[in-house]
Each structure stands twice: as structure tokens, then as C-alpha cells.
């Protein structure tokens, strides 16, 4: 414990270096801008920022992306509450109480509650990341190849099962990602796989081009097909924040406690990210909250619960990312990509080999929470002005960022063709509602999964029961099966309820589903 506090204090000192401090501030501002703009998703924003980190060292790069991620969970609240436009899917529950409260003439109070919730959720997330990462890493030091395979499988199945969409589509997306990762020369045998005598495929498909193409260009094409219909908005006007009184906050402590726990847990479980956390927290409030009957009419509980939970997921996500090298969401997959691009492999050893970097990142999370709240309080007025930009203009620049980002990685025009191809794939995914995150995660984690599987098979002479007979891997495999079975159980329960519940109530329940 003493060691952790000491390291964290050093992390705060390292954070004062100009490169780290500038990265933090830029990350906060850009993350907030991205979240405010309805056309840009948080993950897309983090992806587009990635190329700017090539010339930076690893610590400021991760600080930049993490700050973007953190402030992105907060920035969208402004448009959701003031204009009824959720900047991110995770902001949708904020519409249900935040917008009515604003319509009742209390927008400053609504924004005050959001700020408080983001501050609390952010502090909880930073504390939980510091507290949980080291025990996680120590535990992970016992892992061998079978455990790693089981953990990666659990991570991938979590994204498939808990991502809140069709499981079939998520599985298809995951398989495509895993297949893309196999293209190129195989590490063990040196065999060409799916290269079809095309020289550029021998080097494999860069996960960066998959990410940037599918998330960035794909989204731009999808919006272009809809004719860029989002009208520019008047972002000025009367945006103010009024913080709630201590007595009012104290009254909401059960809501805050419940949502904090939900947020951290949703962060740790792969696949159940900020959006799921936000919906689950609101749903829990609707079931167990003291004023559940008033939810939806513009009460603070409906704002605090989703905002605390969504911000609290960030630290939870950072725990498996740093301790195991397993990202649980699209944004953390990009952050893992940034680590790998700088030649750093996150995992249990990182706490010994790169302790300075890890604790500077943790320290930056604390600073980012305070920074984003200050930004939200004082600077949101000019930031919201970005809503005045027409969609066609912002989309043109997003497309350009995609190309320059992909080109910067290897200075190769070939990668631009990959961007175009994966842009079209991303569009098709969007069009037919296939989730992109499983494909990206499959692409990044596919080589880890294959290597740990093949190593296990070689070490244990092809005995596949090793994944189930070793205590840790067996437990994780059981959790994987549970995660995959959960959506089916959930569906069966809904079928059962649909037969029993009156139609009006069923519609309300459906609204609350993540």
C-alpha cells in the first residue's frame, strides 16, 4: 500500500513534465469536443488521435488517449441535456431525466448534477484503477499459456455476449476480425496464410487500418448516405452550471453508491462498457431507487446514476488492459494499439518494468477528472460552439484524418487502400447493424489467442482438456460459457415475461434495456 502511494506521488511529479501536462490538457479538450459532436463517436475520436502519438513517447501518448476517453464520457451530457442530442450512445439515459429537468427551466441544475456525477464517477474510477490493478497483475503472474488463452477467450466472448446487440452478428464480426489477424506469414511455421500471392498481404493486415477504416471512414460513409442531415445548431446562449447543495447530494448517496459499483464492475467485465454501465445504472435506479416512480420526470437520480456509472467504467477498463493486456472495449483496444505501436506490451510485468509510466498514467487519471470538471464548468460554452460546424465539413476532415492517420504509420499508400476497403466494410457493418468492436478486438487479440492456444497445445501434447482442468483457466472457461449463455437466458426470460406482462409495461421495460 505504502509503495503504491509512493509510486503514485512520483506519478504526479512526472505528470508535471511539459509533454505529459500538454497531452493531458489536449486530450481533455479534444475528448470533450468529440463527445459534444453527435457525428463523432468517442472511439472514433480516440482512433483519429492515434496518429498524432507516433512522434510522442509512450507515456504522453497514453495520457492523451486516456484523457480523451475519460472526458468523452462526460462531454456528451451537454448536448443530451440541453439539445436532446446524445453525443454518444452512453448519453441516451441522460435524455430521460436531464432533458425534462432542462425543460422545466433548470438546465443549470441539470448540468450541475452531471458535473458532480462525472467528478464522483471519475474519482472512483481512478481510485479503483490504482487499487485493483496491482492485485490483478500479481495474480496474473501465475498465468501460463492455457490461462492466457482462457482470459483472451473470456475477453472476446464478453464483448460478443454483453455488447448489447445481436449475438449472431457479434460472432460474425468477431470471426472476421480473428480471420483478418491470420492473414500473412505465420509465426510458427513461416507459412503464407490467405496471401493469395499478393505481396502486400504477406506483411499481414495492420489492425490500425481496420480500426481507422471501419470506425472512421465507415461512419462517414454511413452518414453521407443519409445526406448529412444533422443541421448545425446554435451552440451559444445560456449554458451555465449550478452545483447542487451538500444536503441535496447527501440525499442521493444510495444512488451514487449503487451506480459507482455498477460502473466499476461494468468496466472490469470485457464488453460491458460505459454504454451498458449507463443503461444498467438507470435501470437499477428504476427498480430499486427511492423515487423510482418519478424517474423520467426530470429528477437528479436519473442524471446522476447513468453519469456516475459511465465515467466509473473507465478505470475498470484500464485494470485488465494494464494488468493483462486485454482491452474490454473499442476505446481501450485503441489504447492497447498505442502501447503496441510504441513497443510496450501491457501485462503483469509492466508494473515492474514500466512502473513509472503506469503510475504516471494513474496520476493523469486523477488530474484528468479534475481537469474535465473544470473544463465543463468554465469552458463548455466555447466548446459547444463546435455544434455550429456543418456535418459535411466535419465529415470531410474526419475522412482526411483517417487517411493521414493510416499513412503516417508506415508511409505507405497501400495502407490507404486498406482504409478504403475497411471503410466500405465499416459502412456495410453499420448498414446491416453488425457491431464493429468485436472485429477490431478480434483483429488485435487474435494473434495472442492463437499463440497461447498453440503454445498450450504444444506444451500439453494436444490435450485440449488442459483449459478446463487447471483451476484458473477452468474457472475462466466456465465464466466464458456463462457469458455466452447469458444472452440466451436473457432472451428466454423476455419471451416468458412477454407472455405475462401487459403490453404497456412491456414497452417501458424495453426502454430500460441496455
Amino acid at each position: 500500500m505504502h509503495d503504491v502511494v509512493h509510486q503514485l506521488a512520483l506519478g504526479f511529479l512526472h505528470l508535471l513534465s511539459p509533454a505529459n501536462a500538454v497531452s493531458l490538457v489536449v486530450g481533455l479538450v479534444v475528448g470533450m469536443l468529440v463527445a459534444v459532436l453527435p457525428g463523432l463517436t468517442l472511439v472514433m475520436g480516440v482512433v483519429l488521435a492515434l496518429p498524432f502519438t507516433y512522434g510522442m513517447s509512450v507515456t504522453p501518448s497514453i495520457i492523451l488517449l486516456t484523457a480523451m476517453y475519460l472526458s468523452g464520457t462526460y462531454g456528451g451530457a451537454f448536448t443530451a441535456i440541453l439539445f436532446r442530442i446524445p453525443g454518444e450512445p452512453l448519453d441516451v439515459p441522460l435524455l430521460w431525466d436531464g432533458y425534462p429537468m432542462a425543460r422545466q427551466g433548470k438546465p443549470a441544475q441539470a448540468l450541475g448534477w452531471t458535473l458532480l456525477a462525472a467528478l464522483w464517477g471519475g474519482l472512483i474510477t481512478a481510485v479503483s484503477a490504482v487499487a485493483l490493478a496491482v492485485p490483478f497483475a500479481k495474480f496474473a503472474l501465475r498465468f501460463d499459456a492455457p490461462e492466457y488463452f482462457a482470459i483472451v477467450l473470456f475477453g472476446l466472448s464478453g464483448v460478443v455476449a454483453l455488447g448489447g446487440g445481436s449475438m449472431v452478428k457479434a460472432l460474425v464480426s468477431l470471426c472476421i476480425g480473428l480471420l483478418l489477424a491470420t492473414v500473412g506469414v505465420d509465426d510458427t511455421y513461416g507459412a503464407d496464410r490467405f496471401t493469395f500471392h499478393v505481396p502486400i498481404l504477406k506483411d499481414g493486415i495492420e489492425y490500425l487500418t481496420v480500426m481507422v477504416g471501419a470506425y472512421g471512414l465507415g461512419e462517414v460513409l454511413a452518414r453521407m448516405e443519409l445526406g448529412f442531415v444533422t443541421p448545425p445548431m446554435d451552440g451559444g446562449g445560456k449554458i451555465q452550471t449550478r452545483l447542487p447543495r451538500w444536503r441535496e447530494i447527501w440525499r442521493l448517496r444510495p444512488t451514487i453508491a449503487r451506480s459507482s459499483l455498477i460502473g466499476v464492475l461494468c468496466g472490469i467485465v470485457p464488453g460491458a462498457g460505459a454504454t451498458v454501465g449507463s443503461f444498467v445504472a438507470y435501470g437499477t435506479e428504476a427498480q430499486y431507487g427511492k423515487r423510482r416512480d418519478k424517474l423520467g420526470s426530470g429528477i437528479p437520480e436519473g442524471i446522476v446514476a447513468p453519469q456516475v456509472a459511465s465515467t466509473a467504467t473507465v478505470g475498470g477498463h484500464m485494470v485488465p488492459l494494464l494488468a493483462l493486456g486485454i482491452p474490454g472495449s473499442g476505446a481501450t483496444a485503441v489504447i492497447l494499439g498505442a502501447f503496441l505501436l510504441h513497443g510496450v506490451q501491457p501485462g503483469p510485468q509492466i508494473f515492474q518494468t514500466e512502473a513509472d509510466m503506469v503510475y504516471t498514467i494513474f496520476a493523469s487519471m486523477f488530474a484528468a477528472v479534475l481537469g474535465m470538471c473544470l473544463l465543463g464548468y468554465f469552458a463548455i460554452k466555447p466548446l459547444v460552439r463546435i455544434l455550429q460546424l456543418p456535418e459535411a465539413v466535419t465529415s470531410a476532415f474526419v475522412a482526411l484524418f483517417c487517411f493521414v492517420g493510416a499513412y503516417s504509420a508506415r508511409n505507405s499508400v497501400t495502407d490507404l487502400w486498406m482504409i478504403v476497403i475497411f471503410g466500405v466494410v465499416g459502412y456495410l457493418f453499420e448498414r446491416y447493424r453488425f457491431p464493429i468492436a468485436p472485429m477490431v478486438l478480434g483483429c488485435i487479440l487474435g494473434p495472442v489467442a492463437e499463440t497461447s492456444f498453440m503454445t498450450s497445445m504444444i506444451a500439453y501434447k494436444g490435450d485440449w482438456t488442459v483449459f478446463f482442468s487447471r483451476p484458473i483457466s477452468g474457472t475462466v472457461m466456465a465464466l466464458t460459457i456463462l457469458a455466452l449463455a447469458y444472452p440466451m437466458i436473457r432472451r428466454l426470460r423476455r419471451v416468458y415475461r412477454a407472455h405475462k406482462t401487459p403490453p404497456g409495461l412491456a414497452a417501458v421495460e424495453r426502454e430500460l434495456q441496455p
Binding site: 498524432f52 453521407m224 448529412f228 459535411a392 493521414v404 499513412y407 478504403v420 492456444f453
Partner: protein, 177 residues
């Protein structure tokens, strides 16, 4: 019936593609080691899973698609906007423009092709304030050139022939050597 087939088509295409790749995986050239799995095992396992999932979905859609749909998480939240009018021509123009941009980069160089791409993209995107289009596309391209070549040290394409000369002038004007 047509609607049902339309829903099945993506899965059918994926199933056929996966079957083709499964066959291709059987022809990987490598020196086999006795008692060990080859480089084809992992891709084949993934492809088998993909084919099984696609087959399941095709059968499910064929047999149960007419049954009353149980609302699941696949359906979008009610608060999300309903799907509006689609403009496939706009999309085709956007994709075509993007392909032309990548094609033209090596010849026209980064600055010229980017400025043109940004301007045409905004026009195709039905934005009609020509002054803003001209200003943002030229200034945006210059900013990109400056940031990436001067600060991030990325060597962006200069183009060929007379276009290269234009790029060199612009770099000189920006103080980039």
C-alpha cells in the same frame, strides 16, 4: 419471401466466402511436424465457427422469421432517431471520390489532392457555401501539411512532374525543408 431472402443474403455470402477460405486453408504450404497442429488449424477453427453461425442464422431466418418478433437488444433504443431517407448516389459519389483521392495522391501530391478532395467532399455532401469550402479546404490542407511534415515528421507524398514542383513551393513557403 423476397424480404426473407434479403435478410439471408449477407449470411449466405459469408457462408460461401468462409467455405472458400476453409478450402484455401487446406492448401497452406508448410513442413508438418508430427503430433503438432499446423498453421491451418486456427483459421480453420475460426472459419468453422463462422460457417456454423451463418448456417444457424440462415435456418433461423428461413423457419422462424415470420414468427412474432420478440424485442431484443438488437432493436435500437426508442430515443435514437428513426432511419431517414437514404441517398445511395451520394454514397457512391463519396466512395468514388475517396478512391480517386487515393489514386491521385502519388501523382498530384498531398496538398493539391487533399485540398481538392476536401472541397469536392463538402460539395458532394450538399454544402453550398463556396467561400467556406474554399477557405477550409485550402487552410485545412496547409495545416495538415505543416503539422505532419514539420511537427510529426511524416513524409507526405509530394506528387510527380509539375505537381511535385507545386508541393515543393508550398513546403518552402511553410518553412519545411
Amino acid at each position: 419471401m423476397a424480404g426473407k431472402l434479403k435478410g439471408q443474403l449477407p449470411y449466405l455470402a459469408l457462408l460461401l466466402g468462409a467455405a472458400y477460405l476453409y478450402r484455401a486453408a487446406g492448401h497452406f504450404a508448410y513442413a508438418a511436424r508430427p503430433g503438432e497442429l499446423g498453421p491451418d488449424f486456427w483459421p480453420k477453427a475460426v472459419l468453422a465457427l463462422l460457417m456454423a453461425v451463418c448456417a444457424y442464422e440462415i435456418v433461423r431466418r428461413a423457419l422462424f422469421v415470420h414468427a412474432p418478433r420478440v424485442p431484443d437488444a438488437d432493436s435500437r433504443p426508442a430515443t435514437q432517431p428513426a432511419e431517414g431517407t437514404r441517398y445511395p448516389r451520394l454514397l457512391a459519389a463519396g466512395v468514388g471520390l475517396t478512391v480517386l483521392y487515393v489514386l491521385g495522391l502519388d501523382t498530384a501530391g498531398f496538398f493539391l489532392s487533399t485540398a481538392l478532395y476536401l472541397a469536392l467532399f463538402m460539395l458532394v455532401g450538399r454544402y453550398r457555401r463556396y467561400g467556406v469550402i474554399a477557405a477550409t479546404s485550402v487552410l485545412g490542407s496547409l495545416t495538415f501539411v505543416y503539422v505532419f511534415m514539420k511537427i510529426v515528421y511524416v513524409s507526405l507524398p509530394l506528387g510527380a512532374g509539375p505537381f511535385k514542383q507545386v508541393s515543393v513551393w508550398i513546403l518552402a513557403a511553410l518553412g519545411i525543408r
